[in-house]
Symmetry: C2
DNA sequence: TATCAGGAATGAAACGATTCATTCATTGGG
DNA sequence: CCCAATGAATGAATCGTTTCATTCCTGATA
């Protein structure tokens, strides 16, 4: 008899195990006198409820899985805070893990979460295919997509309108007079990248009359490092170099501006830069970053809420907003 | 019969449940022919192992809990990546949650983790008291302290030498000629704050001869917001204002420099600023931040490693390094 | 051929909380 | 005074896996 269990508590309190269980679960039919007796016993033996046993019997755990691409991306962490906030009103809690943008790791973690019988999963998909997610949905674990949409819709989703956000950014640059613009996009097979590319293309297309030139690069991740590398490549390959750069997220923008500055370029004088997300630091950079704002906390909150709400498949879309700061100016 | 279990697999494969279990757990005594047969059956029925049942029987889960003060602090997220990296070599995984620097939430989460029979907990304590942690250690769940030390030592720990790091920073400022220095520290009851304060004090004391003046403010969190607020207060209350500020972490430094700039102060001309941590963004700020570097990834990695290693209580200390950048200069 | 050793396979018991059909106690009405 | 009705408490069965003592096989040896 290692750790005290419900039986030990019951014996000490002189009640049945059923009663102890009822006390633990706040079942309202228990006499106040007994509640007190049981609680005293619990405190005395140092009882801690065995979550595994509970989950086994109940069939479902009180956890919600959250799978993000990168723990170091403030976008996801802001959202995670939103999730936590929503969950804190229930007795659920968050299981947070990073897929490191790897499809295999994502599949692995999804199985792990499924095996733990989580109430559901909030997923920011690593690749184009939702096969792994579809599978666990089929088997009964609900999934809410984060910043992505399933077609056909077998799972709920929350997202911002990436395309229109990207279009906003491009319109801004085009409006300032830029005609040679680079787009440092994220990995090609990520949903967000595709949507943002769409938005960029429509913005360019709509600008019809005056010929605007677009150079698109797909980076291998949404990180500062990738942004820096992308910028290096851009400066080496493109002559004349672009006068403005739209980055698929703020971290890429930070990396890009870092490299640009190292190469002696001045922002925004020599080069305008626009980001995406509006992470807290965007306004603190050497030059406060013009960027497309996403309501990250809310996004996470609603995603969790949709999961808790249950069965209905629903899609919630938030509208992004352009935050013009100092990293953009007309071309010199 | 809802979800297929081990029995269903056994029936289909024509073997016993014990054999299926052995296959799942890679017990080497199983015939290759049977392994294949079982795996085929597993794939066919879409079997997913029930982690709750496993944990119930085994008595311990294959998860490691990680409790940090703030998900939005890159310091912890870098460390979390280190933890994940270390854990990925075993079949363990990380359960990451934020205490939001609240002692109550910390206690709550510790109990939650204990109830889930985690292999152990990596804890960055929210307050001065380790009572809650001690309790679960007593009951058999190992805890490794993250950036903090228990006295008497009932749990292992990893940390950097906060005091000497802080001393490094102060020496730097004093060496530059600053004589009126403010210290924007974190919450008073957090271990790191206390240690960094110690370092600051010894540095000042050692500077004996010339009278150096120190103004210390304890903020209520290690965040950008708190840093900004602290700076506002500092500028309002202190006349003449300090010529240099040492911040207990980079986020505070970012917040402080943000406010300073809003008030028309130039960094480092009017005000020198030093941070602590050296998060990735420190070098990307409007003025690259002079800061005390901590090996965050390694810190997390070693913490996880100590936990996996088991019983021995051990303390590992890393040495911080000063990274001089552009946010510091002699007073004008 | 009979026996034995050793490895491989078996399946019942156990893990600890929850559930729910049953039992027990109490109260009020006829 | 008995019965019914209501509410509280009980405890055996259950969830799905792992464990391990036992059984089964196979091939080698005497």
């Amino acid at each position: 008899m290692n750790r005290p269990g419900i039986k030990d508590v019951a014996k000490l309190a002189g009640v049945s195990v059923g009663t102890v269980s009822n006390v633990i679960n706040n079942v309202p039919t228990v006499t106040p006198e007994r509640i007190e007796r049981v609680n005293a016993a619990i405190a005395q033996v140092g009882y801690v409820r065995n979550a595994a046993a509970k989950t086994l019997r109940r069939g479902v755990a009180s956890a919600v899985g959250v799978l993000v691409l990168d723990l170091n991306n403030p976008f996801f962490m802001e959202a995670a805070e939103g999730v936590t906030d929503c969950l804190s009103q229930t007795e659920s809690f968050m299981l947070l893990a990073s897929t490191q943008a790897s499809v295999e790791k994502e599949a692995e973690l999804l199985t792990l979460l499924e095996s733990h019988a989580v109430r559901g999963v909030l997923l920011s998909p690593a690749g184009a295919s939702l096969a792994a997610a579809e599978e666990i949905v089929q088997r009964g674990t609900p999934v809410v997509l984060f910043d992505s949409i399933a077609t056909p819709p077998t799972m709920s989703s929350v997202s911002v309108d990436d395309a229109s956000g990207a279009a906003l950014a491009m319109q801004h640059l085009l409006g300032l007079g830029h005609r040679r613009i680079a787009f440092l996009n994220g990995p090609e097979d990520v949903h967000q990248s595709q949507q943002r590319k769409r938005g960029v293309d429509t913005a360019i297309a709509r600008w019809s009359g005056k010929e605007a030139q677009l150079i698109t690069h797909n980076l291998d991740s949404y990180t500062i490092r990738a942004g820096a590398a992308g910028m290096t490549k851009l400066l080496a390959e493109q002559h004349p170099r672009p006068t403005a750069i739209f980055c698929a997220n703020d971290l890429i923008a930070i990396g890009a501006s870092m490299t640009a500055r190292e190469q002696g370029l001045r922002i925004p004088d020599d080069l305008s830069i626009v980001g995406f997300d509006d992470i807290a630091l965007a306004s603190q950079l050497s030059v406060p970053l013009t960027t497309v704002h996403q309501p990250m906390f809310q996004l996470g909150w609603r995603a969790a809420n949709l999961l808790l709400e249950g069965a209905i498949v629903r899609h919630e879309t938030f509208s992004p907003e352009l935050r013009v700061r100092r990293s953009t100016a007309p071309p010199s």
